[in-house]
Structures are given as structure tokens and as C-alpha cells.
Amino acid sequence: MSIFKFSPRGARFGVPFWELEKMRDHMDSIYNALAGSVSQIRKNYTGVFPLVNLSEDDENLYLTAELPGAVKDKLEVSVKGDTLSLKGEVRQAETEAGEEQTYHRRERESGSFRRNIDLPVKVNIDGVSAGFKNGVLTVTMPKAAEAKAHHIEIKTE
């Protein structure tokens, strides 16, 4: 058992190098401020399963997660306010059959997961759709009207 639970963004109480981490965060924020438009790209590693990628275009916000072997019927995606929740199970039915099987390699994992993700913009909850293809979950979330880029025409006098 590990003495320190890995919770990088949560409570840092008891984590020995939290001062250093704080400094790193500070440097990140300076770097992001200098980099300007990329400031929104957060490359922080949360360590929470599943890892997700978020992207956007003018209309939608897209979330993708690699979930090979996830049970489609048990995948749950829900949006409440600005938070997206993912819940599900990755199962290897054939390995459940018996632990006494002789394994030559055992690298894959099975189990359940649950994760909440804060969305950077407001989304239109009614329009959210999700698809699961080739083991990749894609959630498409239309941006709320107020979050969409509003193009203003410039009139010439």
C-alpha cells in the first residue's frame, strides 16, 4: 500500500514536495500567460482513469476517451451544469472465467471507473450526444449560445 495517495489537484496535505509543485504550477501559469492563446491548453496529468482529450470548434465541444473493452451498456455519460460525468466498466469476460488460467502475459486491466470533468464553456445540455466506436468514446456537446463566438460585421461608413 502506498503511504501517499496520488491526488495532484486535490488535497496536498502530507505530500512531501507540495512546495515544489506549487512553484511548478506558478511557472506554468507564467508560461501560459506568455504563450497567450495556448493558455487554455492544460497539459496537466490528472492520473484519473480514463484520460480524456477535450477539443472544440465553433459549434461544439468534443471529449474523447480511450476505453478499449468497455461495456457499452454500462457506459454512462451525463452532464450537469458545467460538469460532465463518465461512468462505466471495462471487463474482460473471458478472463473472468477462471483465475486458474495460465497467463503468459497480463498487462490489461479490468474494473470500473467514474470521473467528473469540468467543462471550460457552457454547453447546451439537451444537445449532448455520445458515441462509442472502436473503443473510443466521443461526446459531442453543442456550445450554449452565449459561449459561441459571435462574429460582428464591421460596417464601412
Binding site: N53, E94, G111, N134, V136
Partner: protein, 146 residues
């Protein structure tokens, strides 16, 4: 089942420079291999790979699994990137006990399943011993062929 899943970082592999023609990284898929009654079962996680983009190659007792992921849709701006998308590549050397002509593969939900059956055990076969008594003329030596 109550165990929670942990994040496992993908293992990037370095394949010969000529192999990688795309700018994507190449990962080694996680696999399970276990014994079955008939032979071996190999299961590999390859999320994002469609059956058309999967290739299985068998030569000189080496099984090569490679898969390409579909390119990300154009015109999207990344906001958060926790994982990298990439292609997959891994090689296995097969034991001689595997019947290479009988390998079957299936890809579903990003999980590749390969059945590797063992060579059927040699069937006991009775070898008939012909006696030359009936045909050979008496007195000829059976080892003398000319």
C-alpha cells in the same frame, strides 16, 4: 467487480525510422496472453483502430500486430490533452507448437482477440509394413536396388 481502474501510461515504442511514415507516435498495445484448451489466446487493447486499419503479419514465426488510428477530425482546437493518439505496433515470436494456418482474429470495440491454436497432436497412425514375399522373386536381396 469493484476494483477501480488506474491510469496506465501508454508505452511508446521506437520502430525503425522507415516504419513510421506518420508523425504520430507508435505505442505498444497492452496484451493478455493465456492458455486455453486449444492453444493460446492473445488479447490486445488497440483503441481507435478500425478493422480496416489493422494489419496482422505472420512470417518466420513472428507475428506482427500493427494498427493505425483514424486521423483526428480537422478544424478542432485542443483544449485539454491528457493522452496522445498514436498507432500501434508489437511483435511476438510464436512457438513451433502453434498452428500458424489456423490463427483467427477478431477486433471489437478496440480490443483485438487472436486465437492461436496448437498444432493438433500427431494422430497415431499405423504404418503398414509391406512384405515383399508376395511380389519379390525368391532369392533376391531387398536392399539391392540396382
Amino acid at each position: 467487480m469493484s476494483n477501480d481502474l488506474n491510469v496506465r501510461e501508454k508505452q511508446e515504442v521506437k520502430v525503425g525510422a522507415a516504419e513510421n511514415t506518420s508523425d504520430k507516435p507508435i505505442f505498444s498495445p497492452m496484451v493478455d496472453i493465456w492458455e486455453t484448451d486449444k492453444g493460446l489466446m492473445l488479447v490486445a487493447d488497440m483503441p481507435g483502430v478500425s478493422p480496416e486499419d489493422l494489419s496482422l503479419d505472420l512470417s518466420d514465426n513472428t507475428l506482427t500486430i500493427s494498427g493505425r488510428v483514424a486521423p483526428a477530425p480537422e478544424g478542432r482546437k485542443a483544449l485539454l490533452k491528457e493522452y496522445e493518439e498514436g498507432n500501434y505496433y508489437r511483435q511476438f515470436s510464436l512457438a513451433e507448437t502453434i498452428d500458424q494456418s489456423q490463427i483467427t482474429a477478431a477486433l471489437k470495440d478496440g480490443v483485438l482477440k487472436l486465437e492461436l491454436p496448437r498444432v493438433a497432436p500427431a494422430q497415431p497412425r499405423k504404418i503398414e509394413i509391406k512384405t515383399e514375399d508376395d511380389s519379390a522373386p525368391a532369392g533376391s536381396c531387398p536392399h539391392d536396388n540396382g
